[in-house]
Every structure is written in C-alpha cells, then in structure tokens.
C-alpha cells in the first residue's frame, strides 16, 4: 500500500470531515445545510473512486474500447444525488419557516428563545 494507491480515500476523508465540522461547529442553519451537501459529495467520491480503472473509459459499450470503468457505483450515486437535493430542498423549506417563527436562523438565538418560552410557561 503506497501513498498513490489510497490517495483518493484520504481526499474523501478530508472533505467528509470538513463537511462534518461545518455541521457541528457553525450555528447558522443555512451554513449547516451547505456543510451537509459537502459531506454528501464526499460520499459520492468514496463510491466512484474505487470503480475507476486506469486505461478504461466511461461505461458506454462500443467496439472501439475494451476496458470499462465500473458502472454500478454510477447508478447508486445518481440516485444519491437526487435524494440529496430532495433533502436540501426540504431542509431549506424548514429553515424558512423557522425564520418566520423565531425571526432568526442562528442556532444559539433559537435555543435561547425556546428556553425563555419554556421558563415563562413553567413559571
């Protein structure tokens, strides 16, 4: 195992953890959703990189080529991309509703508003 043979996995891991860091460390809800989409794209790389064969070509069968890259991860990731954008669209709709209810999209302010309302209701 050398550096070149696992380089693609390390790029994937770095992008994944960068996305994870944005989700857990930043309080703004829209930035969290952008971090989530970065996390998702790193997972696409994780699946497609092992399918590539050096010297192969795209998996469209023709008489000119003999070696093809693996088409099965492409199918899975096509589905994953569309499901990812469905998630982001629904997440953004919820963020818009939160903004209208709390007048803020920062996690800290929303939590404070909730705790203040709980204390006021319980007192």
């Amino acid at each position: 195992m050398s550096f070149a043979s696992h380089y693609s996995y390390w790029v994937t891991v770095l992008l994944m953890v960068a996305g994870l860091y944005i989700v857990i460390a930043r309080g703004n809800l829209i930035k969290k959703l952008v971090g989530l989409s970065i996390f998702q794209t790193s997972v696409y790389l994780l699946y497609i990189a092992p399918g590539k064969l050096i010297g192969g070509t795209a998996p469209i069968v023709s008489d000119l080529f003999k070696v093809y890259s693996n088409p099965l991860p492409h199918v899975l990731i096509l589905t994953a991309i569309v499901v990812g954008i469905a998630t982001i669209a629904l997440g953004l709709a919820i963020v818009v509703r939160i903004r209208e209810a709390y007048n803020s999209i920062e996690e800290d302010e929303i939590l404070q508003a909730d705790q203040g309302a709980d204390r006021g209701a319980g007192a």
């Binding site: 696992h6 390390w10 703004n28 829209i30 930035k31 952008v34 998996p59 099965l72 199918v75 999209i105």
Partner: protein, 168 residues
Amino acid sequence: MAATVLAIILQRNLYSVVVLAGVYSFLMATVLVALDAVDVAMTEASVGAGISTVLLLGALHLCGGEEAKPIHRPWLPLAVSLAVVAALIYGTLGLPAFSDPQSAPHTHVVPRYLKQGPQETGVPNVVTAVLASYRGYDTLGETMVVFTAGIGVIALLRRVRRRKEPER
C-alpha cells in the same frame, strides 16, 4: 477543492458561501469526469451547481445573508473532527487500492452487466440500462422520493388564502 471548502468554512457572508458551494460543485463534476463517471458528472453539475444554488439563494433572500460571529470557542468540534479523521484514515487502509481490477467491485456481477447488458436491453449506455431496467425498482423509489419532497415543500410553504368576504 480543499481551498474552496476552507473558504466556505471561514466566510461569514452567506451569499459568497452559496457561490463558493456552486464552484465546489463544478470542481467535483470535473473530478468525476476524470474518474470516467460521465452520467454522474452531468447530474452533479446540473443539480449541485444549478438547482441547489437557485434554492439556496431563494432561501437566503427570505432569511438574511450574514452569519453571526461564533461565540463558542471551536476547540471541541475541532478535536472531534481530528479524531474522526484519524479513525477514518485507519479504516480506509483496508480498502482496495486505486484501480485494482481484481478487487471486489469489479468482479461478481459487473462483468455480466457489461457483457450482456447491451445484448439483453439493446442500450449501449450501461448506466442507463442498469438504472432503468436491471435496477428499475430503485429508480421507482427515487422518483417517489422526489415526488414526496415536492409534496413536503408544498405542505410547508403554502399559505391558505383567507376568504375576503368576512373582512369587508
């Protein structure tokens, strides 16, 4: 791409974060073309850099474009992230090497799809043949997911028009 992601983390103006996310998406599509995944690259470019950017800008217009200054020190999330990096790199050491024709993804069922796919379905693009014919159930589920997302957004964001007559 690492530079783009770093800029996304550090930037506080959300409009530039959205534009940087679109740039990141295009760079990812280029990398996917270099990895021979042409269908996936086209979908990632159109969906990630097109629709995703439009929806993020629409939401930003409704929500406001600045991120507040973080009040917590980021030491705990940074420590957690570094621990996750270490654990994942240790895990990837067991994965197959890059471009190994004998590894698990390239044996078993894929040579059958590549050899007999065009004959059985008459479609040279093996990705479309697998997506629409061999794994048609998954595509049915995916269409249902898209439809459900549309219904969800309609349910969350519609406003019921009140009858005007009682207010007169």
